[in-house]
């Protein structure tokens, strides 16, 4: 295979070249500036979004980090489970109740009873499950709830926070 050059083409490299370097540097700076501006806008948008739409915190987290929270430790046997009221927290416009639901029997799948307060209710989902409630602050420190055990009708019960060591300022306006 011949490497011989057919003709001397080097003269074709002699072209009248425009000053592309200066315009390229200008264009590079313009693009870099545009990129920085967009990155800045993106970062600012993220900060604003984080400020306007803070990530939802779980009710359990809100109760456990509330400035005003009282440790209670009141237990009630409900059907096949023990419901223990661990904490009551002042959440500002509402009260947070954190229950620990624990099956009374050892092991196995159990049907948990339902506990409800003024329209909000929750089922125990498994062993040692934390079940939080957020309720309207009661006027007199007593909360009326119902217990619905599988196979039987609703059973009312009263939770008197005054006797559970919860400070009255939690529910008083």
């Amino acid at each position: 295979m011949s490497e011989e050059r057919p003709l001397d083409l080097r003269s074709l490299a002699n072209v009248d070249s425009p000053d592309a370097v200066r315009s390229a540097l200008r264009e590079f700076r313009r693009r870099a500036l545009t990129r920085y501006i967009w990155v800045g806008i993106g970062v600012a948008a993220l900060i604003v979004a984080a400020f306007l739409y803070p990530p939802e915190r779980s009710l359990v987290a809100r109760i456990e980090t509330a400035d005003e929270r009282a440790l209670v430790g009141y237990s009630v046997e409900v059907g096949a489970a023990t419901w223990t009221l661990l904490r009551v927290a002042d959440l500002g416009d509402s009260l947070g109740l954190e229950w620990l639901v624990w099956p009374a029997g050892a092991g196995g799948r159990l049907s948990f009873p339902t506990v409800a307060f003024a329209g909000v209710s929750s089922d125990g989902g498994g062993e040692g499950t934390l079940v939080p409630f957020e309720v309207e602050p009661p006027a007199d420190g007593t909360l009326e709830g119902t217990i619905r055990t599988p196979g039987s009708g609703p059973e009312p019960f009263v939770l008197d926070l005054r006797h559970l060591g919860v400070p009255a300022r939690y529910w008083e306006p």
Binding site: M1, P6, L7, L12, A13, V15, D19, A20, V21, R22
Partner: protein
């Protein structure tokens, strides 16, 4: 040496590469500018594994490929404008016409090696093929060019 000075030293060669391969001055100017814009961004990553010229032409070739994919050759592939050649020697005009009559791949091989003076090994690195593949491509391009030049 400032980056601008380094670029300026290779400006004419890069422009000649585009002009001779695509045959359109305006597009060649734009692609030359785009090559140096990208070189500005890529300069921080240049480690000196090759010469600056080879590195720049690697960028230029990627710019050319993208232009090709965008259909640039569909509208710019054309014979040189003889009337615009002014007082250039006839032989040079014939060379340009013969070169412009070749396919893009042949033109590129000839321009990189025979016009711009790269060694075939460097040219293979720029084009992104093995040295042997490039030698075959160059050999065919030279043969076709000789035929085209004979027919001009």
């Amino acid at each position: 040496m400032e980056l601008e000075d380094v670029f300026r030293a290779h400006q004419q060669a890069v422009f000649a590469y585009f002009l001779r391969v695509i045959g359109n001055r305006q597009d060649a100017e734009e692609l030359t500018q785009e090559t140096f814009v990208r070189a500005c961004s890529a300069a921080i990553r240049f480690r000196g594994d090759s010469s600056v010229k080879t590195w720049l032409f690697g960028i230029a070739r990627r710019v050319l490929l993208e232009a090709s994919r965008a259909g640039l050759f569909d509208r710019t592939e054309q014979l040189p404008d003889v009337a615009a050649a002014g007082d250039r020697a006839d032989v040079r005009i014939d060379l340009e016409r013969a070169l412009a009559s070749l396919g893009v791949s042949d033109r590129e091989a000839l321009v990189i090696v025979d016009v711009l003076g790269f060694e075939p090994r460097e040219a293979a690195a720029i084009v992104g093929v093995s040295a042997e593949t490039f030698r075959v491509r160059l050999h065919r391009a030279r043969r076709r060019f000789r035929e085209a030049y004979g027919g001009v």
